[in-house]
């Protein structure tokens, strides 16, 4: 289909494609700022709500095995409904605007956080918990002082997955008037203007990378220090 000449024309257009979107953003800074804010707002509210529900639910699941499997099943079911489906369904009840989008983000965010909270707590070495018990800690003290701190890196990894997922899903918000960076995707498609499309898409990709990095760093900082054998110190006893 593509003649060689056309192919090289595409190649020649690539630098243009890659710079055009920056210019578009610079030409429309106010609109960009509003969309970015709307986008982040959906993500932050959706993810915060998901954390607020999934972490306690995950903890509850580790305390009671029956509650545990019920909770995990619900989380898994929430995950199987396509995001657009959720938006379409809830849109009928919640109307136009950011609310159905936030609901979709919330439902999607649940499972990764839930799964990781449960796995993180379950994978805490039983010897550590037993030590706490032998020391006279109540079950709440064991949770706060041993299980949660030791599970935290895994829980944070779940939140990281949810955030990355949410930045992508939030693009759909534009279809139901919730705003966000998706608006430029729609606009770009309507006008066959790649630079507008990219001006909407690339900031989202950058956002994902930045958030992913930030959480990776946070997880490493919070986790128990895993020092290698060669920086062990030898003070009194060899």
């Amino acid at each position: 289909m593509f003649e060689p000449a056309v192919g090289s024309a595409v190649e020649a257009a690539i630098p243009l494609l890659l710079t055009g979107w920056i210019e578009y953003i610079l030409e429309n800074p106010d609109q960009f700022a509003v969309m970015l804010r709307e986008h982040l707002q959906m993500v932050v509210i959706g993810v915060t709500a998901a954390i607020a529900v999934a972490v306690p639910a995950g903890i509850a699941a580790t305390r009671h095995p029956t509650v545990g499997s019920a909770v995990m099943n619900m989380g898994a079911i929430a995950q199987t409904v396509p995001p657009l489906g959720v938006i379409a369904l809830t849109f009928a009840f919640l109307g136009v605007g950011p609310r159905p989008a936030i609901l979709a983000l919330f439902l999607y965010g649940l499972l990764p956080i839930l799964k990781n909270t449960v796995a993180g707590i379950q994978n805490v070495e039983s010897a550590q918990v037993e030590a706490g018990r032998g020391m006279g800690m109540t079950s709440l003290q064991r949770l706060w002082r041993i299980e949660l701190p030791l599970a935290l890196p895994v829980i944070i990894a779940g939140i990281r997955t949810t955030i990355v997922l949410s930045v992508g899903i939030a693009y759909l918000g534009a279809f139901i008037g919730a705003g966000g960076l998706g608006q430029w995707i729609i606009l770009g498609q309507q006008r066959y203007a790649n630079e507008i499309l990219l001006a909407g898409a690339i900031p989202g990709a950058i956002l994902v990378i930045l958030l992913d990095q930030a959480f990776g760093w946070l997880g490493a900082r919070i986790g128990p220090t895993e020092s290698s054998a060669d920086d062990r110190t030898q003070t009194t006893v060899a």
């Binding site: 032998g134 006279g136 041993i146």
Partner: protein, 335 residues
């Protein structure tokens, strides 16, 4: 090591009465075990892996509930205590150390004082005191357990168990994971530490030499049953059965020499030669040292000297006496 009999008048700090433990899966881990540990004494529980040592020990701090029988601490059945309160009063050195990985050494040592609500200042002072006691540099405070050597971690484990000034301490193979040299060093240091404390200890080990060294009394367990519970010297002298004998090992006579003082077997002073030429023995020397001196001595009888006066004599007959029934008669005459 205080194998003296003076403590026997003290009250029983820990008592097991016909205690049996059957786990939910049907494993009978402990069968009809009865013994008691006097206040301030150390009892070592020894036996092969899986014989029920840990299970027995965990019934003292209510981590395991007996199926039948009663375990008492300070003359009160464990079942009548609030388990949380009891565990906070009983120091616990966990098998495989069990330091909290996400906490600094300081936080690890101070954990029990912290959960029972001591002030930060008091905890800090106590941690300083304990690190000194277990001979760790103060700069380990801010380190994490993984940054310490095995021996250092074990010291932290002991310090943590001592933190809230417990009257009873449970130690589950505390030095089990260490190399022999570090282990011996820690054993000796712990004996020193313990001599300065008024604490009743249950010490679990699978190493008979450690059991004999650390215990005022040694409980030998086999398949959940208590086969023998005696002071080390008595255990070596009169093993109850073939199992205990084989467990004590081929060299039990040598070990036995280590547990008896010259005073317990020596003969009258008038049998001592006036001029021996060798190093005189003290009545408190172990027989093991005495045998060494005796072998080096020119004469068959070695004088025993205390404060410059000859108080007894030691010959081959006296040394041999510990290996036959006569030793008891001799011991009774002297104690």
């Amino acid at each position: 090591m205080s194998h003296d009999t003076a403590t026997e008048t003290a009250s029983n700090s820990i008592a097991f009465e016909n205690v049996t433990k059957v786990y939910d899966d049907g494993t009978e881990a402990v069968t009809d075990v009865s013994f008691s540990v006097s206040s301030g004494e150390t009892a070592t529980l020894v036996g092969p892996s899986g014989c029920g040592k840990t299970t027995t020990m965990k019934m003292v701090n209510a981590l395991v509930e007996p199926t039948t029988g009663t375990v008492s601490v300070d003359e009160t059945p464990v079942s009548e205590y609030d388990p949380i309160e009891l565990r906070r009063k009983v120091g616990y050195v966990i098998q495989d150390i069990g330091l909290f990985k996400h906490m600094t050494i300081e936080e690890n040592v101070g954990i029990v004082p912290d959960i029972v609500g001591w002030s930060d200042d008091r905890i800090e002072n106590r941690v300083t005191e304990l690190l000194e006691l277990v001979r760790l540099d103060d700069d380990v405070r801010t380190k994490y357990p993984q940054e310490l050597s095995g021996g250092q971690q074990q010291r932290v484990g002991v310090a943590r168990a001592l933190a809230a000034e417990p009257e009873v301490m449970l130690m589950d193979e505390p030095f089990g994971a260490l190399d022999p040299i570090t282990r011996e060093q820690l054993q000796n240091e712990f004996l020193d530490i313990q001599a300065g404390l008024d604490v009743t200890i249950v010490f679990v080990t699978h190493d008979i030499d450690e059991a004999l060294k650390m215990g005022d009394k040694v409980a030998v367990l086999q398949d959940g049953e208590l086969i023998q519970y005696d002071p080390p010297a008595e255990l070596l002298r009169n093993p109850n059965n073939a199992f205990v004998e084989s467990f004590l090992g081929e060299d039990r006579q040598l070990a036995q020499l280590q547990t008896v003082a010259v005073r317990e077997v020596m003969g009258p002073a008038n049998e001592a030669p006036t001029n021996d030429g060798g190093t005189p023995l003290s009545p408190d020397d172990t027989l093991r040292l005495a045998v060494q001196n005796w072998l080096r001595s020119e004469t068959d009888v070695v004088p025993v000297v205390e404060d410059g006066t000859v108080v007894g004599s030691l010959s081959e007959v006296h040394i041999r006496s510990i290996f036959d029934g006569r030793s008891r008669a001799i011991e009774e005459n002297h104690v």
